[in-house]
Subunit: 323 residues, 2 copies
């Protein structure tokens, strides 16, 4: 990185973030040097957001800064890892000081909240593209994974589903707006633009959950990863999917369709053996909802309504390369 | 990452790379889980290459795959770290199977040579952009850094300088071609497109070198980082800069100017206390050249010719945001 590029990173980002004791060397050399606590491993995930694909060109740069880091933190939550460090590869069409200061404010607020330090980066010229790699601490054998779900486990999700998808459809004018008041719309948009990584909840799942994933591509796609990796089936009851107040106001089929198939909610989906049902519901009652059970592999993935009839899916998981 | 995106990564990259014993969990979950050897830390660096800025649109995708990883490996070399893992964030305008297979071949050949495993990635649609984060093992207190140079230390560089810059000028038709034969041109272009990360040499510098950096932005800019971080000055003798045979054929002032200021060579510049001079020259004689000495901070950064006259710089370090 050349001096002036480094200055951009330094000016807008370095001073805004915190310093951790386990960062041996941060920004300013060829590499950062990071020291994991004894007995812990490093969980890493990299995600890219591209203008026009993952966010609208007119998005508030402050919310974009938040979301760029939130998607990575959500991956750490899905593993039960504790956030520690991140790197930022930022490709910019030009040096827009207002944009940079707002983007870095959104980024650093979330970083401070989760005690995650910016330790390196690269700034290049080109079409607006943001890649962030997050690094967390986790005891390798305790990590929440996709491949541990067992037949009979209960399936839970955190928060409410479909809000981010509904907000996207609102912005694309594909959703009937008249049933929603301004507060509803603002709520849905904040769910799309300012997702909450479920770090705190995920730490309560260590030693209890048999599998976990974050819902980035839609519940059906992401639960699909769990059952595929675990070699099991799943049955979920459509009316048990948790909906926000705003979502209960829109057409019911659309609401459940979004809850099942739309991405960007960044809630967690996880499975728990039945003996932990009381513990989960005591500790996390207001944060999670049971939506179904893990079944035999041969039963496949069934979505039924409360009468037991099959619910047929209208949408499909978000895909950057639709075929 | 959605299923079809994951399939792209999986199809072209996962099978081509190796598996390391210290990778607890690789591609296929929300995070990879990486375990560092006891007593070691993780050295990390992220770099982005953008089409039209860092490479020509018609570049051979196989050499691009090599270079995308080489620039990160060069950062690990600059720290004396041992390559272990990398992640790949790939933004593609479309799914071009020929391009992907060639790019992944170039990438995986270099990855195998350095025993570095691909452990995660993200594939998105958009203008061609490649971000790679490398991770290496290093004992934190032994890492080569930019800030340890001492007055009296000898300054060395590996390999030859300015070749990559000359190749770029050849491609831009800014360099007199007639003095170079096809072999010279091919050599220079391979130095631009297929840089050699100096991992093996860097490991011999641990415990000996007081500072090190890789030459990505040009010797004057990168040695400038060492003296600035170390609070010292430097004096280098222009005729001591190592030039390749091809470079000795071009105009001498241009050759030295490129050797001083052009980027992309990915050689190492390092400093060594005088008592190690014999050891360095015995062990690395054919791989490195002494170009000067570290001086007092108050002496600044002097470039002189062998007669002792000041050499005035024509070019300047490569900068993605020229002011």
């Amino acid at each position: 990185m050349s001096q002036s590029e480094f200055s951009i990173i330094a000016q807008y980002f370095e001073s805004l973030t915190l310093r951790r004791d386990d960062t041996f060397l941060g920004i300013g050399d060829d590499c950062a040097i990071l020291t994991c606590p004894a007995g812990h491993s490093v969980a890493v995930s990299i995600d890219t957001l591209v203008e026009g694909i993952h966010f609208f060109s007119d998005v508030d740069p402050r919310t974009l800064g938040h979301k760029s880091l939130a998607v990575g933190l959500s991956d750490l939550a899905a593993m039960g890892a504790t956030p520690a460090w991140f790197t930022l590869a930022l490709t910019l069409p030009n040096v827009d000081e207002h944009w940079l200061s707002q983007f870095s404010l959104g980024l650093s607020s979330l970083a401070k909240y989760h005690n995650i330090q910016l330790v390196g980066g690269d700034t290049t010229r080109g079409p607006l593209t943001i890649s962030i790699q997050v690094h967390g601490h986790v005891k390798a054998n305790e990590a929440l994974r996709r491949d541990g779900a067992q037949v009979g486990d209960l399936i839970y999700v955190t928060g409410t589903l479909g809000d981010a998808g509904a907000a996207l459809q609102l912005k694309l004018h594909n959703l009937e707006q008249s049933v929603l008041d301004d507060e509803d719309k603002s709520y849905l948009v904040s769910r799309l633009e300012l997702p909450t990584p479920r770090i705190e909840i995920s730490h309560k799942l260590i030693g209890i959950a048999t599998s976990a994933i974050d819902i980035s591509d839609g519940l059906s796609a992401d639960l699909g990863h769990i059952i595929s990796k675990s070699g099991v089936g799943a049955e979920i009851v459509i009316e048990q999917l948790p909906l926000s107040v705003a979502m209960t106001k829109i057409d019911k089929t659309t609401a459940y369709d979004l809850a099942l198939t739309s991405g960007d909610d960044y809630e967690l989906c996880f499975t728990v053996p039945p003996q932990y049902k009381k513990q989960i519901e005591r500790e996390l009652a207001s944060h999670c909802t049971q939506i179904g059970v893990i079944t035999e592999h041969s039963s496949g993935f069934k979505i039924i309504d409360k009468k037991g009839d099959v619910f047929s899916l209208q949408g499909k998981g978000y895909d950057h390369f639709p075929s």
